[in-house]
């Protein structure tokens, strides 16, 4: 099997349960796998939560991890996809001194060219938001850091897959 290390996005559909984050993270921790990013949100099905986990590992290992995740009683189903089959976005926020907006006109060009937007402005600072692929956020960060950034943060990925994930059908089949 493929032992090449690649970036995979794991999607886990679960019951909305208080201890589940601990249970799922323990699976990674026990095997010394560093999670690149993690996002938990509601899913397309009411009452079903979705974990989106980005990890760098081999396909051989990711398959075993999926098995261990699915073994948890309150996990409905887990999938993994490579980058080609994942549509994802991450979001970056940049807090910058307000005076720079006027002193450094180039900033406005950068905002425009990168399709970022200004979320809020006040006398002390303004906040830029940029959604996109990781490289786009990283590039914007590089461009802005020349001028000085007061705060910077980047979210985990939220992802949709090209493949179908038939959770509703699956839930029905369990109920019958």
């Amino acid at each position: 099997m493929n032992s090449e290390i690649r970036l995979y996005t794991i999607s886990v559909y679960t019951e909305n349960n208080i201890g589940l984050l601990n249970r799922i993270s323990a699976i990674f921790q026990r095997r010394h796998i560093n999670v690149e990013s993690l996002n938990i949100s509601p899913s397309e099905i009411e009452g079903v939560a979705k974990f989106t986990i980005a990890v760098k590992m081999s396909e051989e290992s990711v398959k075993k991890i999926i098995g261990q995740i699915e073994k948890q009683v309150e996990v409905i189903k887990a999938y993994y996809h490579d980058e080609e089959n994942t549509i994802y976005q991450i979001s970056g926020l940049f807090k910058i001194k307000s005076e720079l907006l006027f002193e450094e006109p180039q900033i406005q060009n950068i905002i425009k060219e990168s399709n970022a937007r200004i979320v809020t402005v006040n006398t002390a600072f303004f906040v830029i938001e940029k959604s996109g692929k990781k490289d786009e956020i990283v590039k914007l960060h590089e461009q802005l850091s020349v001028f000085g950034i007061m705060q910077y943060t980047r979210s985990g990925r939220v992802a949709i897959t090209k493949d179908e994930m038939k959770i509703s059908t699956l839930l029905e089949s369990y109920n019958n």
Binding site: G19, R23, K64, G67, K71, V73, Y174
Partner: protein, 577 residues
């Protein structure tokens, strides 16, 4: 939970009544047909003990001498009966003392429900007296766990706990219940859990995988079956025997699979793994089709994975999808319950004898007999061997005893040489290797199956890890036969030190107490044997005893267990000396 009312207009039966959370806990146990539980009281679980006092005619609570003993007793109970074992403890140290047994039950797939008391919910997270995050601590070693802070959630949580513990691949669950939830009153009603929508305990068997497996098995020239505890857990003993006999396939077992097919069966070729039999280990690397049933390719079974059965096509019958291809790549995976899968495949299997192939097992057995078994069972040297003690127990129990072992040399010797006529006769800590498991597990086994002869066999090391449970034996009048094979060493570690650390016996020599006096201190009949000529009579006296009996046998100090697959070696590099 909603109140269920009025089943019948005329009688107007109300199915609910107002009771406390603690009473509800006991009532849930009664609903689940629990008759014996093991535990230890303390502050945060006192309301439940108060109810247990009230319901003592329905549920027998066994006061162990340590919470670890409660879990191992519950495990022994579960392993011999196939039912869910129940252990109960207070918060904090009571709860943390359960962890070893829970971890043991998790890795050995033993159904167990643990109930812990917890500080009142308003104190959670405040570092209150005897507060510990037992849900957090037990998460990696439980099949499922939860914390309950409202009385109304108790029946649902316990119903789910029992269902999860016993269904699919069994395992331990823990329900942590705050003290205020135990005091709170609510409308009680109980409904057994039969389904959880996110949980598919028994994957459906795909008929095409059955057909593919049958085709491979029928075409095989040198097939070999290796079975594990899955056979016992799914009660597939008869089906396995039928398959083995029809197909004429030699079958070997993992330590937890022992006793599923009688030892004397001609196609039972013995134990796999590090201290298993010579033939099945060597021939694992010569068979053409390896049929694994209800086992998980533990490293103690496979030795070096890169050199394990590389020539063989592997068929894996397994209930847990996560086990497929985890350690060994399979050609055909048959998911599902072992009993159902074996029933389905049996009609598709051709009759065969594989006489020539079977002859190979016999030849290798003869070598093992000459080099190892003869000296273990019929020693000519002065010192007593562990093997001859097991042999004597075999003779006098006629192979009908349930053997409960601890962990170490005596465990390997007992599993190698014990004769099992009945299934569920070998209770041991396999995956976790928990020293101290044996004595309390034997108590649980004896209480679950009082009609059976239960013999606990321990080494002098592991015995002292839970020796306080002699108190439980005495108080419960549990007629457990306790054998300690004493070599004044932590024998298995010493053996490794001898073989791999140039005989540097670091902290393995034990200066032991007067074991007979300790047993007698608990008013248990006791005897010590140091000479061969005393052995048979002492074992006879032990077996004849209607009460608990303690027998210490002083065996040779530096005896080793062979064969042995050294750590990191291939199964075909198994050493006979």
């Amino acid at each position: 939970m909603e109140a269920h009312t009025i089943k019948d207009n005329k009688t107007s039966i109300k199915a609910t009544e107002k009771i406390s959370g603690s009473e509800a806990i006991v009532r849930c146990l009664i609903e689940e047909d629990v008759k014996i539980i093991y535990g230890y009281p303390g502050g945060a679980i006192m309301p439940v003990y108060d109810e247990l006092f009230k319901y003592q005619d329905k549920i027998h609570h066994v006061l162990t001498r340590h919470e670890q003993g409660a879990t191992h007793s519950a495990q022994g109970f579960a392993r011999i009966s196939g039912k869910v074992g129940v252990a109960i403890a207070t918060s904090g140290p009571g709860a943390t003392n359960l962890i070893t047994g829970i971890a043991d039950a998790q890795i050995d797939s033993t159904p167990m429900v643990c109930i812990t008391g917890q500080v009142p919910s308003h104190l959670l997270g405040s570092d209150a007296f005897q507060e510990t995050d037992i849900v957090g601590i037990s998460t990696p070693v439980t099949k499922w766990n939860c914390q309950v802070t409202k009385a109304a959630d108790i029946p649902g949580a316990l119903a789910k706990a029992f269902y999860i513990a016993r269904s699919g691949r069994p395992g331990p669950v823990l329900v942590d219940i705050t003290k205020d939830a135990q005091f709170e009153e609510f409308d009680f009603s109980y409904e057994k859990c039969t389904k959880i929508r996110s949980y598919n305990p028994v994957p459906k068997t795909d008929i095409s995988s059955i057909e593919a497996a049958a085709k491979l098995m029928n075409a095989a020239k040198k097939p070999m079956i290796i079975w594990g505890q899955g056979i016992i857990l799914s009660q597939a003993e008869e089906q396995l025997k039928a398959l083995v006999e029809k197909a004429g396939i030699p079958a070997a077992w993992t330590i937890l699979g022992a006793s599923a097919i009688p030892t004397s069966h001609p196609l039972n070729v013995g134990m796999l793994g590090m201290h298993g039999n010579y033939a099945p280990n060597v021939l694992t690397n010569e068979c053409d089709v390896l049929i694994a049933i209800g086992m998980r390719f533990d490293d103690r079974v496979t030795g070096k994975l890169d050199e394990y059965a590389r020539q063989a096509k592997v068929i894996h019958f397994e209930i847990d999808p996560a086990e497929i291809d985890k350690n060994v790549q399979t050609e055909v995976a048959v998911l599902g319950d072992a009993k159902l899968s074996l029933e389905a495949i049996l009609p598709l299997i051709n009759e065969n004898t594989h006489t020539e192939w079977h002859q190979k097992f016999k030849e290798l057995y003869a070598i093992e007999y000459e080099k190892v078994i003869k000296n273990d069972l019929h020693p000519t040297k002065e010192g007593l061997t562990m093997g001859e003690v097991i042999k004597e127990i075999n003779i006098q129990s006629k192979g009908n005893a349930a053997i409960v072992t601890d962990v170490g040399q005596h465990q390997m010797i007992a599993c190698r040489y014990a004769e099992f006529n009945k299934t569920k006769s070998n209770i041991t800590s396999g995956g976790l290797g928990t020293m101290g498991f044996g004595l309390p597990a034997a108590i649980g086994a004896k209480m679950a199956a009082p009609e059976r002869e239960v013999v606990s066999i321990s080494g002098d090391g592991g015995y002292q890890m839970t020796i306080q449970e002699l108190g439980t034996i005495f108080q419960q009048k549990a007629a457990v036969k306790v054998v300690v094979l004493n070599n004044d060493f932590l024998g298995m570690v010493r053996q490794w030190q001898q073989l791999f650390f140039d005989k540097r016996y670091a902290s393995t020599e034990m200066v032991n107490p007067n074991f007979v006096a300790i047993a007698e201190g608990y008013y248990i009949k006791a005897k010590k044997v140091t000479k061969r000529e005393e052995l048979a009579e002492a074992v006879a006296e032990m077996m004849a005893s209607k009460e608990a009996y303690f027998l210490e046998v002083c065996v040779e100090k530096e005896g080793n267990v062979f064969p042995m697959v050294p750590s990191g070696a291939s199964v075909s590099q198994i050493r006979l000396e």
